[in-house]
Structures are given as structure tokens and as C-alpha cells.
Symmetry: C2
Subunit: 218 residues, 2 copies
């Protein structure tokens, strides 16, 4: 088990604490599309990604989604450990975007470590601050940036993540990331197409003019 290589503050734990973590933490593999955490108060625990990709999102009563942040190799997600964050009164969903291998550290163990270990407590503080910063960034985008800029930024991010200009993604899925309706995405993509920035085929958005998208995203 190479958990020790992935967990950033492993060396700051004492042998007894390390032992305790290894005895209860398990490595899981989940298929793309699996919902790991469904916003229920049930506390899954802290997630540490070994490989793959997760996304955290919120969901409106009408079923509209918006992606809050994404987690990649070596990233740690605390949103699934709501009991470690006692005052969090919002529901977060976590889904595997790709086939993902991850460690699940039970929340009760993590809570105990936080209560007894200053490095763990300070580390968690930093993690929360990171998550917080992501959310503030997103809120500023939503508040101040027009939808065309946000969509351009999203397409470029996807393209970087997938390492291709031909994005296999539906308009529905893009809408779910961005917290808007499918029609709004379709309309804007058609506008992008008319401007020669993308080309649309069934189930695919092909980036044709990267530079124009970059200029647009601002």
C-alpha cells in the first residue's frame, strides 16, 4: 500500500497514528459515473485520489447542477466528510468523472486525528481554505462574468484535461457543469460555431480556434 506516498502529512504522524490509518483506510475503485456521495448527512469520509477524476457539485430542487470543483491524482476531498465540517449546511454531491481509484479515510478516524494532532488540524484548515477559494472563484465567475466567457473557459479547461481538441461531451453535460439549461449551452455553442471558434458534431465539440476562445475568456 503506497498510501504513505500520497498522503501529504504522513511524516508528521506518529507510528501509532500511521498504524491506525492503515488499519481502517481502504482503497476502492469506482467506475466513471459512480456517485460517491449524494448530499445526504451520512458521512463517507475523506477521499484521497490515487488516479482518475472526481467532481463535486451542488444540485437545485429542480435538478440543475453546477460543478464546484474537481479532484485529480493526489488531491484530497473533504466535502464528503461533512461531519468533520460541523457547520456545513449545504449538500454536496461527488461523482467519479472517470474510472477512479481512491482511498477512503473514515470520517470518525479523521475527526479523532484532527482533535489530537496539530499537523492534521492545520492541514485540514488549509484544505478547507483551498476548497473555499475555489468556490469564491466560481462565485465571482457567476456573478461578474458573462456566460460566453465562462463557456469559453470551460471548453479550454476540458480540452486541457482531456488533451484533445475534440471534446466528447453533450450539451446537457456542459449545462450540468455550469448550472444552466441545455438550451442556453446549445445557443451559445452555435454562436461560437458561427464565429468559427468551434465545430459541432453529434456528441462532440471540436475546438477550431483556440486563440479566439482564449481571447474571449479574458
Amino acid at each position: 500500500m503506497d498510501f504513505a506516498n500520497y498522503f501529504p502529512i504522513w511524516d508528521k504522524l506518529n507510528p501509532e497514528q500511521q498504524e491506525r490509518i492503515l488499519s481502517v483506510t481502504d482503497l476502492r475503485t469506482v467506475k466513471a459515473g459512480t456517485v460517491l456521495h449524494d448530499g445526504s448527512p451520512e458521512c463517507l469520509g475523506m477521499l484521497l485520489v490515487k488516479s482518475g477524476q472526481l467532481r463535486a457539485y451542488i444540485l437545485s430542487e429542480e435538478g440543475r447542477e453546477v460543478t464546484i470543483c474537481r479532484f485529480f491524482e493526489m488531491d484530497i476531498c473533504l466535502f464528503s466528510a461533512s461531519c468533520v465540517m460541523p457547520n456545513m449546511q449545504f449538500d454536496i454531491f461527488i461523482e467519479a468523472e472517470k474510472d477512479t481509484t481512491l482511498w477512503v479515510i473514515p470520517a470518525c478516524l479523521y475527526q479523532n486525528l484532527m482533535d489530537e494532532s496539530l499537523p492534521v488540524s492545520n492541514y485540514s484548515h488549509n484544505l478547507i481554505t483551498n476548497h473555499f477559494s475555489d468556490v469564491m472563484w466560481l462565485m465571482e465567475q457567476i456573478m461578474w462574468k458573462s456566460f460566453d466567457k465562462r463557456l469559453a473557459a470551460f471548453l479550454l479547461e476540458e480540452s486541457n484535461l482531456e488533451g484533445t481538441n475534440a471534446l466528447k461531451i453533450t450539451h446537457e453535460k456542459i449545462a450540468n457543469h455550469m448550472g444552466t439549461a441545455r438550451e442556453v449551452v446549445t445557443r451559445m455553442l452555435r454562436y461560437f460555431q458561427s464565429e468559427g471558434m468551434v465545430r459541432l458534431t453529434r456528441g462532440t465539440v471540436i475546438i477550431e480556434n483556440r486563440k479566439a476562445l482564449k481571447n474571449l475568456q479574458g
Copy 2:
């Protein structure tokens, strides 16, 4: 100095730490309208409100504001201590909404305490989580709630805070709280007036039908 009665984890500090805090923390009184923190990387420190009212807000490049959260008696604000939150990459402004008396705990001292005291570290973790929860709530409002519901909720909150149905507040000021343009606020308030929910006079919004506003806010 009754700082000890206001600082929630005072009893969890050792005498030397208590002494250190008292020696560098000062009590300030600021007038309503004073901007305590202007989004610059300069690190003011942690604020503990003795009396009065603060608000934290973000600002767009075009000068539009949106209120993130408010702080009242005994509340602690960490947004002004960006150096304690190393990964925060957004600019927060803090303004006194009323004449306010507050303690300022220098950031460097607070950082030292966090590094050496588990109770301080855990307490900070909880504070950040609280701030975070406020922001998530706000984002959900902005994403999913229509503006009429948000405005109804804002008027009721103001009315509760001020203990009156006659709110002395300009449309401009409401717009600044809600991250929108003054015209949008004016239009919606006129609609509320036509529905008999409020009455508008110069510089004042009078709540006429509390129940209708409550129903609207949902």
C-alpha cells in the same frame, strides 16, 4: 479589558498565550462606513466584534458589490487575515455598517497560536467552515433563486436587524448588497409596491405586508 469574555476559546489557552494576546491586541472604535480592509494583500488580522456590525463583500472590476456575510457582537471575522488563510486567492472588503467597537488580533500572532495550539487550530477550522457555509448558501441563492425571492429575504433580514418596518436604505445600497444594478432593485421594489408588499418613500422602504414577503421568499 473584557476580551476574555468575548473570545470563545480563551480558557483553552495557557497563561503565557493569554498574556501574549493581551499585550498586542487593541480595541478600536470605527464609524459606520469605515472600510477596515480593502482587499489588499496587507493582512490586518482577526477581528472580534464587541458591538456594532460589519459586512464582508466582494467587488467586481466594474465596482459592483455583493455582500458575503455580516458580523455582529461576539462574531469573529477571519477574512481580514488573509495571511492566516494562505490559499485564499480572492479579495474581500470589510466595512463597518454601524459604529463598531472591535478587537484586532494581529495576523502574525494568530498564525503563531495556530501553529502551536491545537484548540486554536481546530477553532479556526470551524470558523472557516462557518464562513464557507455562508458563502455556499449565498451561491445557492444566486444560482437557483430568482431575484424577487432574494430581495424579499433581504428586506425581511434588514427589518429584523433594525427592529423596524421602515428601512432607511437606498436602492443603490440594496443593489450593493445583492450584486446587481440599482435599476433592477428599483424595478422590483416598484413591483412589490404594486402588490401592496412595501411602500416606497424617499430613502425609505416600508414593509406593509410582512406575510406576503415571507411567502415570496419561500
